[in-house]
């Protein structure tokens, strides 16, 4: 990577973020495989890296690589959007290393210390033991400091330079994203109150602020990759913000059906979360519509030429538009009504939705940003797909879809046998797990997981080599 065409310090910093994100992405998949193997062979790494530890790293790595790639994306687009170099780039670099170091320490503690005694020192230094945000409290505080620095850079740059619609949305969204994290830092003996605030972080991240973030990145991608008109794209972005926050904020109610909270959350959760797929459908239509419109304008000039300036990245952006709608929208709606959720809550059904939603809504578009980074770094004007990029896309998409279908089938067994027939007891649980279709579902999930991982290896090989390929237009 000797040739670096990047002159913007902000974009250089963005590539640091993308690189670390890709490494952690690999860790996510690796520990996912460990957990998947344990479903098939329960003795695998027993009392060495137990399922709980593999899963913590699998999911924490997912969250962390996405946050890294999101911060990288912002550093990448800021100079383009604001027309100036990002303010506070030195601070950005320092915080990058602080963040990386903190994550390495947290992961090493997860791996080698794993659990602690039932007192506050464990909460402060080992694990908070709350799914998705297990990071101990010292790391929580570190994350808040890092994110505050990031927000400062974003605001300072946005206020000094040209504050476009995209930057305005990001400024509001990232502030909410950071502020909401505070809701998950406390400790209480009351598990209902605990989970009430814990969902503020999890839900208001992935079903509200992260989705708005994706809307902003999609808007940026449409402008830069197919030359979509800013006025149209930004108008659509504001409509998306209204729809996403309008449905997503109160959609939190679908997590408050069974945790001790009052019954009125049934109605609120059902209504608003049922609306959540609408902006995702809209975003899909919008991306395809803009693409068709821009290509149509080009075709009218009589030139046989694609409007897309980065084929692999745009492929991932389109996959994002569809995957978000399918994974978050359809698979989410499947089990969002309380009448269904009473039986599906806490089964592999949720896990199927989780896999396709995180992949479809977030992994896709962030992989697209990796390709935009590679394009910029290598000074490529029009970037084409390579065999590797096509293969990696096919393997990753096929693998994740396969895992989702397998987990959905396993989920059905669990819902019907463990929940509906057996009433959710210990014995009922294991009857469901012993079902032949459940076991087959877990076998297929592992196979599809391996395909996903191999696809990831090809993806990395492509990201590292495609910049040198001769068929791009420079």
């Amino acid at each position: 990577m000797a040739n670096n065409y990047l002159t913007s310090e902000s974009k250089k910093l963005a590539t640091w973020y993308f690189t670390f994100a890709a490494i952690i992405f690999g860790a996510q998949l690796l520990f996912g495989l460990v957990a998947a193997i344990q479903y098939v062979m329960p003795g695998f790494l027993f009392e060495i890296i137990d399922f709980s530890i593999a899963r913590i790293i699998h999911i924490n790595a997912l969250v962390v690589w996405m946050v890294f790639a999101m911060m990288g994306s912002v550093y990448w687009l800021l100079p383009d959007e604001t027309g100036i170099e990002t303010v506070g780039i030195g601070l950005g670099k320092l915080l990058y290393w602080v963040f990386v170091a903190a994550i390495v320490v947290v992961v090493l503690v997860y791996l080698f210390i794993q659990v602690g005694p039932a007192d506050q020192t464990t909460i402060w230094f080992i694990t908070e033991g709350r799914e998705y945000i297990e990071a101990p409290r010292w790391a929580d505080i570190g994350i808040v400091i890092v994110v505050l620095g990031f927000i400062y850079n974003l605001y300072a740059t946005g206020m000094k330079g040209n504050r476009s619609g995209i930057v305005t949305v990001l400024m509001a969204d990232m502030l909410a994203f950071a502020g909401i994290y505070l809701a998950g830092m406390g400790y209480t003996d009351n598990i209902s109150i605990d989970q009430y605030w814990w969902w503020w972080v999890i839900h208001l991240w992935v079903e509200a602020t992260w989705e708005v973030f994706v809307g902003s990145i999609a808007a940026y991608g449409l402008i830069t990759m197919i030359g979509a008109h800013r006025k149209v794209v930004e108008m659509w972005l504001w409509i998306e913000v209204a729809m996403l926050f309008g449905s997503g904020i109160l959609g939190i109610g679908h997590h408050y059906f069974w945790i001790g909270t009052p019954e009125y959350w049934w109605e609120i959760g059902a209504l608003f979360s049922a609306l959540e797929p609408l902006p995702l459908v809209a975003m899909f239509i919008h991306v395809l519509y803009d693409w068709g419109k821009m290509q149509g304008e080009e075709d009218a000039l009589g030139k046989e030429r694609s409007v897309i300036t980065n084929k692999p990245a745009f492929t991932w952006f389109v996959l994002n538009a569809f995957g978000n709608f399918l994974g978050a929208g359809i698979w989410g709606f499947f089990h969002t009504l309380p009448q269904v959720n009473l039986y599906t809550h806490g089964t592999q059904f949720t896990s199927a939705h989780g896999h396709l939603a995180f992949f479809g809504a977030y992994a896709t578009i962030l992989i697209g940003m990796f390709y935009i980074g590679v394009q910029g770094k290598n000074g490529i004007k029009i970037m084409h797909a390579t065999k590797k990029s096509i293969w990696s896309t096919a393997m990753i998409v096929g693998g994740v879809m396969g895992m989702t279908v397998a987990l959905t089938a396993a989920g059905y067994v669990q819902v019907l046998v463990s929940r509906a027939q057996m009433g959710a007891t210990w014995a009922g649980y294991f009857d469901g797990q012993a079902g032949i279709w459940f076991a087959q579902g877990m076998d297929w999930r592992l196979i599809m997981g391996v395909i996903t991982f191999l696809g990831f290896m090809v993806l990395i090989a492509d990201l590292l080599s495609t910049g040198k390929a001769a068929h791009h237009k420079r």
């Binding site: 039932a118 305005t168 926050f245 109160l250 069974w258 001790g260 046998v417 929940r419 007891t425 210990w426």
Partner: protein, 228 residues
């Protein structure tokens, strides 16, 4: 010249987005102010005065807890200390917990705090689900206290050789891999005797939380699956 339509005006959509977001956020905050008092933990005085709380006080561990269908609400609810005429908790029938049914507010709260901390320090919800949330590698623990497997005729209690539910659970938690029930086992997490006691109190308390009927039909169905 025709006037420009408001529907294609970015300012209009920007303001709409701000208003809708603000409205949704204010509604969520308002609902939070209504919900939090409803799920705030009760205390011993509530229990002694027969006041049912969605999250009862820690001294609920002194009482017998069952999970029964409420005709009025159309789903099962936790019944603490036996049922009264209205079909809700009467807070009369006590049950010994580690040999005592007179745990004071302070003692019970301390035990519960130890258990809740333990549930986090041992990463319970990264295999199990608590109130249905967590991982799906091990059984849901929401109503684990009421699981027939741990009852006097249950296989789990028999396996540990203990004579009460709480002692059997505490024994299992301290040495889980000594009691393999399935190929998928619980690992040894270094849980001490005191922590195990706290964790069992935490589980008993959790079973008394009003979860709007989740999970459905818990422990009610025996047999009938695969002809068993």
């Amino acid at each position: 010249m025709a006037k420009k339509s408001v529907w294609s005006d970015n300012r209009f959509w920007q303001r709409s987005a701000a208003w809708i977001t603000g409205f949704a956020a204010i509604l969520l905050i308002w609902l939070t102010f209504d919900t939090i008092p409803q799920i705030t933990m009760g205390n011993n005085a509530d229990i002694e005065n027969g006041v049912t709380k969605r999250v009862p006080g820690p001294t609920v561990i002194n009482y017998k807890i069952t999970y029964e269908m409420s005709k009025k609400r159309g789903h099962e609810i936790p019944i603490i200390g036996g049922k009264n005429k209205e079909g809700t908790s009467s807070f009369q029938e006590k049950e010994k917990f580690f040999g005592r049914d007179d745990w004071s507010q302070e003692e019970a709260a301390e035990l519960l705090a130890l258990g809740k901390l333990g549930s986090q320090a041992k990463n319970c919800m990264d295999c199990h689900t608590l109130l249905g949330n967590g991982a799906y590698y091990a059984p849901d623990l929401t109503k684990a206290w009421l699981d027939p497997a741990w009852g006097s005729e249950g296989s789990m209690q028999a396996m540990t050789g203990k004579s009460t539910k709480e002692e059997a659970m505490a024994e299992f938690l301290q040495h889980p891999s000594q009691y393999p029930t399935h190929a998928r086992m619980m690992p040894n997490l270094g849980i001490t005797a005191a922590e195990a006691k706290g964790l069992v109190a935490f589980l008993k308390h959790m079973s008394s939380i009003d979860t709007n009927g989740f999970p459905r039909n818990f422990g009610k169905i025996k047999g009938a699956v695969h002809g068993k």
